[in-house]
Amino acid sequence: MTIIKRGLTALAAGALSAALAMPAVAEPVKFDFWFGLSGDLARVVDTLCKNFNASQTDYEVVCTSQGNYDATLQNTIAAFRAGKQPAVVQVYDVGTATMMLSGAYKPADKLMEENGYKIDYADYFPGIARYYATSKGEMLSFPFNSSTALMYWNKDAFAKIGKTEAPKTWEDVGADLQAMKDAGYECPMAINISANESWQLMEQFSALHNQPIATKNNGYDGLDARLEVNKTKFVQYVTDLKKWYDAGLIKIKSKDLGQDMVQAFASGTCQVIMTSVGDHGTVGKTQKEGMNWDVAELPVYAGTERKNSLVGGASLWVLSGKSDAEYKGAAAFLNFIHDPKTALFWSTNTGYIPVTKSGFDYMKSTGFYDKAPFKGRETAIASLTASEPTEITRGIRLGNFTQIRAEFGTQMQAIFANKVSVQEGLDTLVKNGDAILDRFQQTYPGKTLP
């Protein structure tokens, strides 16, 4: 009995002292951050969150992975409709138009201003900033993980055909692939033609060649934009890809078939691929022992004045309907991510590129790009900053673009399976894509993009 009594007294005393101590260390304000990365990348985000929480005592960010970009957007919408949305959410590049019309966000630039943070918006690489900014140049969300597409080429295979440099034009690519085929390579180049590859095959190609994907400057100037990829240089490109595929110079590699193109390249099976700079780390880690490879900017057709490539990845949106305290925390978090040191941490541990010039300069000054595993990643910056963004190369601002990408995959598969001709396939892509855009416009009557 006495033991219990004594224990109770001790417990009460402990509770009392705890209660007294509480006000001294104020409970940090918690806010939610939902993101769409998984696996290795999710662990890096978790570390990033821990670093933020350790860097100050006023706020605590709770980071939750939703698995992938699609699921993040879906879950956020569901949560928003139920009034349980996170304060900060990561939304992928092509979700930007949908977000802008949602009316569900707090503009990031306003948030930072209200909370006394000065962000130098001119510091962002213009190719990155324009993708997420309004037509007037206001940043509604903060670029977070950014990448662009590069050509990965196997130096050993190119050495076999007497080349020491990556091809710069598509004409050269055609000749080199043929030479490699003649030299006995089974798979000179690998591509995939699902919805995801719309990014490097259609979007990046069109930007590099300053060709529009849709009217109204790719949708920036109005919701009545409609696709026009069936009458640009893109037609020629698909025709060439199909020709090379038929000649056995290009193989289709996807996970469903047993090996995706990154694996095919890293294992030395295929000699050229086009994929995100974000895969740079994966190739380095999984490559065949002793294989020599490098990255280069995506080729263009001869006689083309090269423009900047498009940024891929996602940005951070702050959602409406949260408390001022949470907004303070969100602003501190965005400010933390904006820091060049965070950029170095982020880029070292993922393959993503820094989004600001100061971040890039800081990384260069630490010698990041000189060391072996990271060497070559600066090519992505060169590609993104190849020119000032034009009206067309600043990005794509089309509603429900995910569905248009799906349609791209469908039509490319039909073309490559010889079900339709290149022109017919692209015509159908435009027709079905326009129906999607039409529907999006009808859903938001009388609204305009900011």
Partner: protein
């Protein structure tokens, strides 16, 4: 005279029914009603507002060639996979029922596939049927280009049919075996003594006696092939290549959740519901006539 439990007053009866009615209302009528409402409006995904459009959603869906292609694909899938799963299940159950060597072992093992979740099963089959790495790679070595589900729509359709049937063979097997074992042994033994062979006994005695089970499984298999195929399609083909395996249930998911076209997806799910109802009514109206329950 059959004895029936009756309630003296209405109120008690209704009180007993209320929990069930509430459940059905919350989880069926309410969402279904919501889907009907959504299908008649254009919903902004973020809930900012909606516009009444009447039957426009249905009109635009039914005018879309891709949608008809999706219906055709669903019907082909339902027809072949139901036929295959039921036929194989029936044969295996009939053989197991004959108590050949090892039938106890088969009885346990053949039930397992149904216990595997569709996505896990699809992962396994994606590997088995992968043209470059799996079992089919061997076949492709002998006949190059024979199997290519990445570009050939027929091959892709065959893949998902095989995966789905494999899962439902186990399910059908349990029911068929139970039905076979419910047939009095004396009937079979009498027929055997009269000199009829295995096949004759099957056609004249066993098959007619299990028609209720066959009918039940037919309804379930067809209904499930419209709904339970989602996980398999999502993992194995994502509806490709070129929409060849874009079944109705998958199209609802991709339009609604990936494309954020909630209204169009709602309209499609209403059409799917009506289609399943019509198919089921058809089965009860025309096929059930041939079923003998006693």
């Amino acid at each position: 005279m059959e004895k029936r439990v009756t309630f003296s007053s209405w109120t008690i009866g209704i009180l007993f029914a209320v929990p069930q009615l509430l459940l059905i209302f919350t989880f069926f009528y309410w969402p279904a009603g919501q889907a009907v409402y959504w299908s008649l409006t254009l919903q902004q995904p973020w809930g900012g507002g909606n516009i009444w459009v009447g039957l426009d959603n249905f009109r635009s869906i039914l005018a879309n060639a891709d949608y008809w292609n999706s219906i055709t694909a669903s019907l082909v899938f339902a027809g072949i996979s139901t036929g295959l799963a039921m036929f194989v299940g029936l044969v295996l159950a009939a053989l197991t029922d004959r108590q050949l060597t090892g039938s106890r072992f088969y009885r346990v093992v053949l039930i397992w596939p149904y216990g595997i979740a569709a996505p896990a099963l699809a992962m396994a089959f994606r590997f088995i049927l992968a043209p470059e790495a799996g079992f089919m790679a061997v076949v492709n070595q002998v006949w190059p280009g024979f199997w290519d589900p990445g570009l050939d729509g027929t091959d892709a359709m065959a893949s998902i049919i095989i995966a789905f049937s494999w899962k439902y063979v186990g399910y059908n097997f349990i029911f068929f075996l139970a039905a076979f074992q419910a047939i009095p042994r004396s009937l079979i033994e009498a027929a055997a003594m009269d000199g009829s062979g295995v096949l004759r006994r099957f056609w004249d005695i066993q098959f007619p006696l299990i028609t209720p089970t066959i009918f039940f499984l037919l309804v379930i298999n067809i209904t499930e092939s419209f709904q339970d195929s989602f996980g398999i399609v999502d993992i194995m083909t994502s509806g490709g290549p070129a929409n060849a395996t874009n079944l109705m249930v998958y199209k609802i998911y991709s339009d609604g959740f990936k494309g954020l076209d909630y209204s169009g997806a709602a309209a499609q799910s209403i059409i799917l519901m009506v289609l399943i109802v019509v198919l089921t009514i058809f089965q009860f109206r025309f096929i059930e006539r041939r079923v003998h329950y006693r």
